[in-house]
Symmetry: C2
Subunit: 360 residues, 2 copies
């Protein structure tokens, strides 16, 4: 049920404002324009607040390193070409992915207002963090949002293969409900690589079924061995096929990298990744109407929550529940930072001569 992890290492909590200002200061010090640094910091902090820990401040050291190394274009000229009434292609000019995809989502919303649906493809982008963030953007405008991406490193083989040729290519879908956006944000693998990284950082053992050894096919449960592993797709060949198709749509269709052309963004700070993504916005008003849609989704959600349950199941959890609960809890109590991460963040802060997260 994807219950929150019980970390074995100690954790301290920092207010979201401290996390956000640390990120903004470091990215700006690493060469990003202040506005852009703040845009990215807000999205990364939102990822932390909503429990997408692998896409929050956890990524700051890597992003700062890549900015410094010139792997990101610090001052990208993001170009939006409207290629048809309901489609656009966004060229990110190798800017930070958050900037590029936020622009794509804004474009999709704008076009869909006119045409009912809009499909906006992205190339020349980079790792954009939490998929749910972008799927959620159209919801505030009475729209359904879809988002997918070619993952920024290959951690999966095609079904039956043993080479890292596919990514965890996520799919996110968000719909409006009376309780706010209901957001499904899923990797096409049983777990995301971010979850593996989190386990590695915190030294948490992994259950069987997440990762297998490339050579032997045996399960890997020791996070220290994750480098030898292949992530397993959901539903076997189905998840592998879905990752391939999402890669074709988010990558190939937009002239972005896929398969063997993907740069391992975690291992390489300088090469242009040419990351591809897409955002789709669907205006609910052009279908059943927003009020009716929300009322009906709410009715069905209530029904699903009230269902009879399997023995031992206390509550039914629906897409976005953990997200919503995390957000409320972390806004009140702060974002939990494991000690190992705090050490890294303090190092980055020192490097850029900005105050560390716990002095903010």
């Amino acid at each position: 049920m994807n219950a929150p992890q019980k970390p074995t290492t100690s954790v301290r909590r920092a207010p979201a404002t401290a996390v956000e200002s640390l990120i903004a200061d470091c990215l700006a010090a690493a060469g990003a324009p202040r506005d852009d640094a703040e845009t990215v910091a807000a999205l990364m902090t939102e990822a932390d607040l909503t429990g997408a820990d692998a896409h929050g401040v956890f990524r700051l050291p890597q992003y700062a390193r890549r900015l410094k190394a010139g792997g990101f274009n610090r001052t990208p000229k993001i170009r939006v070409e409207r290629t048809a009434p309901a489609t656009a292609l966004v060229d990110g000019d190798n800017g930070m992915g958050h900037l590029v995809v936020k622009r794509a989502a804004a474009t999709a919303i704008e076009l869909a207002r006119e045409t009912g649906v809009a499909w906006v493809g992205v190339r020349g982008s980079n790792h954009a963090g939490s998929a749910g963030l972008y799927a959620e953007m159209p919801v505030a405008h009475g729209m359904v949002g879809l988002y997918s991406a070619v993952a920024s490193a290959n951690h999966m083989a095609v079904w039956g293969g043993n080479e890292l040729l596919l990514g965890t290519n996520p799919l996110a879908v968000a719909v409006p409900t009376g309780a706010g956006p209901m957001v499904l944000d899923m990797a096409t693998t049983v777990v995301s690589y971010g979850t593996i990284k989190k386990h590695t950082l915190q030294g948490l053992p992994m259950p069987e079924g997440w990762l297998i050894d490339r050579e032997t096919g045996e399960p890997i449960t020791d996070p220290a061995q994750s480098g030898r592993g292949l992530l397993l797709p959901i539903g076997g060949y189905k998840g592998s096929g879905l990752a391939l198709m999402l890669g074709a749509l988010a990558g190939v269709l937009n002239g972005a990298a896929f398969g063997r052309d993907c740069v391992d963004f975690n291992a390489d700070d300088t090469s242009v990744t040419n990351t591809g993504q897409f955002v789709v916005a669907i205006d609910v008003a052009r279908f059943v109407g927003l009020d009716r849609f929300v009322a009906e989704v709410d009715r069905h959600v209530a029904d699903l929550r009230a269902t009879g349950r399997m023995q031992g199941v206390e509550t039914i959890r629906l897409p976005g529940d953990r997200r919503r609960e995390c957000r409320a809890e972390r806004e009140a109590s702060g974002i939990p930072l494991p000690e190992a991460l705090i050490v890294q963040l303090d190092k980055v802060a020192a490097e850029f001569s900005v105050p560390p997260v716990f002095s903010r």
Copy 2:
């Protein structure tokens, strides 16, 4: 790897033309206009040819029964309302699903030619058979196709629940390649209910991981016990969440049935199902261009086929491979019909005083 089943019962092969004319004659005799009967027969036969056995002539007895019982509107007035430049809502007027969704796909293709992408929702429809058929339709026009549906009976619980409140809500994606359409057609459950029905009909035992007992949560492997079962979603809570989201998009967004409102189409021949589906067409020319897309997909596909393989894996199978192979083999050698199905088909043919499949 979803290898073709080795049936334990004997099987005879009928030419596709014989299967198609049997279906058309029976549906017409059961009250469908001849044109409509032929349209549905062509799509059902295509399902058989491409290996979607649970959606081919296997469904004839049920469809004929429902036509006779008045559960389908035999002469539907299918209405297409263009609700925005790139969206339409199709009301199927309770016609056979094949007719309604084929119309929706044609609409999506027509609109997308103008607007780059089109999203066409469907309500008032019925079971439309093989998802891949509809996703594939835009491909002949240089487009990518997406299709989903609210399944015509609930065979899954929400993750943690034990009531049949969700369907296997399939997702199909088709893209053009040099070797023809590459089609992913997947249920959000580990197997489709059609596969369960096929096992029931042929008395084939089922592996663990497909179905669990609603009361005990124990695996069901005896096909005779499938009525007590819940289909398991792919990736646990992920597949459950995906089925919910696809249901919201294919059902709720279009004013069609979802959740507790779904009529079990397999058990009930008369109630209006108000089935919902959607078809999306994306014009490749508005993105990277068709020639380049096909060349790049072909390059990546070749790369994936040539990958290093896990021990014991002879060939890498990609979405649509089985479909393509089945089609070639069955066009040449005929559609395999298990004896139990032949008995049913002969009964239907006799009922409508039309020649049986093996006298055509």
